[in-house]
């Protein structure tokens, strides 16, 4: 048989191919659906076996995620009178009262600041470094590029202990700045290499035209190179954000209080009884949203950036 067929696939072949694709898609999305569904279950439904596919959705998980609660004695509950809000009602079922907000919001905010801060820094530094490596004669260019890449040849956590000691000495333990610097350092090699590839693809003739047209090199970089590197910058930003957003090991090691990010915090929500899976699932579900929104916002740049054709080869 030849390597390919010149005849159109039959209806049955198309149907089989479609079914395979849909089946695989369901398989990959299943864990995600599981997490989202668990967020709307009661703790008992969440651990039921066999798993409950049909269940009464409740916002209990989300209420538990955002609140701290305490068990109350019957006479104390009596003194308070009937619950006044829908979330009070949910909590009272378990003879509990809300004592205040949980720390989830603050941990989430830490994740946003550290994730986006380090993404901005690594893409900014990566772009100018990649431009220099791409356009100028840099002494030992190849060696430097290799050195930059070599920082990713081991898992970053391999250097956890030296970093922990350094951070303690520098007072960067459990600070947002410390985490931003750390994630920037880890992401920088990826961002320099990715962006250098993109900038290498932009013909130098555009900048030369801009130089002749009365612009300085920096202005040419800003007005001509950057718009054309948009694809590269967008995709690099997404990669950097995903790493910084999901990083767990360093976050566990280096943050415990004020700068703690969401990943090490979410497992602690499960509570002493180890039953509050819906709250954990709710925390994980909300945690997915920023990366998804960011990716969707940058999607048009991912699709649009191809700009060959205005330079004759």
């Amino acid at each position: 048989m030849s390597g390919y067929s010149i005849s159109e696939p039959s209806a049955r072949q198309k149907w089989i191919a479609g079914a395979l694709v849909v089946g695989y898609a369901i398989l990959t999305v299943l864990p995600l659906i599981w997490i989202i569904a668990t967020g709307f279950k009661t703790p008992n439904d969440a651990i039921a076996y066999p798993p409950k596919v049909i269940f009464h959705p409740t916002l209990e998980g989300y209420v538990n995620l955002f609140t701290s609660r305490a068990r109350a004695t019957p006479d104390m509950l009596e003194k308070l009178g009937p619950p006044t809000t829908w979330y009070d009602t949910i909590v009272r079922q378990y003879d509990m009262i809300i004592t205040g907000p949980s720390r989830y919001g603050q941990r989430f905010l830490n994740s946003v600041i550290i994730g986006f801060g380090s993404t901005f820094l690594s893409v900014f530094l990566g772009t100018i470094a990649a431009y220099a490596f791409s356009r100028f004669k840099v002494p030992l260019k190849d060696d430097l590029m290799f050195f930059i890449l070599s920082t990713r040849m081991m898992p970053p956590i391999a250097v956890a202990i030296p970093i922990f000691l350094m951070y303690r000495a520098l007072g960067l333990n459990d600070t947002q700045l410390g985490m931003i610097l750390l994630y920037t350092a880890v992401n920088l090699s990826l961002s320099v290499w990715l962006l250098k590839g993109f900038i290498d693809e932009i013909p130098v003739e555009y900048e030369e035209a801009a130089l002749i047209d009365g612009y300085t090199r920096f202005q040419a970089f800003w007005k001509v190179v950057l718009p054309q590197a948009a694809t590269g910058i967008a995709s690099t930003s997404i990669f950097c954000l995903i790493f910084a957003w999901n990083e767990y090991a360093f976050a566990t090691l280096l943050t415990s209080g004020t700068a703690q990010t969401a990943p090490p915090f979410i497992p602690t929500i499960i509570g002493v009884a180890g039953k509050d899976w819906p709250a954990v699932a709710a925390g994980a579900t909300l945690f997915l949203i920023p990366v998804m929104v960011f990716t969707i916002l940058l999607r048009k740049h991912l699709l649009r950036g191809i700009t060959f054709g205005a330079v004759r080869k």
């Binding site: 013909p203 003739e205 555009y206 030369e208 035209a209 801009a210 130089l211 002749i212 047209d213 009365g214 612009y215 300085t216 202005q219 001509v224 718009p227 054309q228 700009t307 060959f308 054709g309 205005a310 330079v311 004759r312 080869k313």
Partner: protein
């Protein structure tokens, strides 16, 4: 508006010498055409004048000012690139306005609109002003690229084969437009082309480059009628000059090894016998391919000639060029 002077300019890229000790003086307001095959150093000359490349040795002066260390932006030169180099993320209008918006010129909005409109009209791209640069055909891109130079009012225009992608009619029209614009603005222009008609009709001066050396510089007629070498003689003339052993005809100087015959230097109807191999009717002229003592020649004859292949004619050289063994002209 400015003369350009290159003195002793040498430039190498790695082991390849692109320019060797070039002295070139472009008088104020001159239209200089650089001729030579690929690799002769034409584009390098433009890039060195523009400041995109720097000479290894030698000096570039524009308007009497030494250009060493002067950024391209500050040299007040406009360049049409061989590769067009349009900004792909901008529309045609924005491409044309780009140099006018530069921090050096900071042209007011209404003046930008006026200049862009005028240039677009000259180049016949008005209907494409709002298209993206990447959505144009090759010829349109080339016209936008010319337009980006013409919107400015520079001291020197540099153009690298600016008409190469255009069809014959447009090329003929733009040839005249370019010449007019340059004459009116008074700017000097250095122009690279392979096209013999462009060189003969537009140039005030022709420079012949051979492997990085400027071997001849003069008016187009001078270079055509008085070439310094076989190489220079071969740059101009359609059909090309015929180069034959000098001994083929009598009367050659003792040192001459080659004789060069342009069609008008071959008198037909008298002299020695030659055989017609092929007759090409081009309409306005007719080319004769002739075999003479086992050598091939190409010349032109009366457009309405009745000559046919196989017939015998008589030819005689008249005031031919003689060249020595190295190809240099012998008087």
């Amino acid at each position: 508006m400015a003369e350009v002077r290159l003195s002793g300019v040498t430039k190498s890229f790695g082991d390849t010498a692109a320019l060797r000790d070039v002295d070139l003086h472009v008088p104020d307001g001159a239209f200089v055409v650089l001729l030579g095959p690929t690799g002769a150093g034409k584009t390098t000359t433009l890039r060195i004048v523009s400041g995109l490349d720097h000479p290894d040795h030698g000096e570039v002066m524009i308007g009497g000012r030494a250009m060493k260390g002067v950024a391209p932006a500050l040299r007040n030169v406009a360049m049409v690139f061989q590769q067009y180099s349009l900004y792909p993320h901008l529309t045609v209008r924005e491409n044309l306005a780009f140099p006018l918006k530069s921090p050096l010129l900071r042209t007011p909005k209404d003046e930008i609109a006026r200049k862009v409109g005028k240039v677009a009209e000259i180049l016949r791209i008005s209907h494409k002003l709002d298209s993206r640069a990447t959505a144009l055909s090759g010829g349109e891109m080339q016209r936008v690229s010319i337009g980006r130079a013409l919107v400015r009012d520079p001291a020197v225009y540099l153009m690298d084969e600016p008409l190469s992608s255009l069809d014959a009619k447009l090329r003929a029209d733009l040839r005249i437009e370019l010449k007019n614009i340059q004459a009116k603005s008074g700017a000097s222009l250095i122009y690279v082309t392979h096209d013999q008609i462009e060189a003969m009709t537009m140039a005030t001066h022709v420079g012949v480059l051979d492997q990085g050396r400027l071997v001849q510089f003069g008016s187009p007629r001078e270079v055509y009628e008085n070439p310094v070498s076989i190489y220079a003689a071969s740059r101009l003339g359609q059909p090309r000059v015929n180069i034959l052993p000098a001994s083929l005809f009598g009367g050659a100087p003792a040192v001459a090894r080659h004789i060069g015959l342009r069609p008008e230097q071959i008198v037909q109807g008298e002299g020695e016998e030659a055989r017609v191999v092929r007759v090409e009717h081009l309409g306005d002229q007719t080319r004769l391919h002739i075999s003479f003592k086992a050598h091939d020649l190409v010349t032109v004859t009366d457009p309405h000639t009745r000559l046919r292949a196989g017939e015998v004619i008589h030819i005689r050289p008249e005031r031919p060029f003689y060249f020595d063994a190295a190809g240099a002209r012998v008087s």
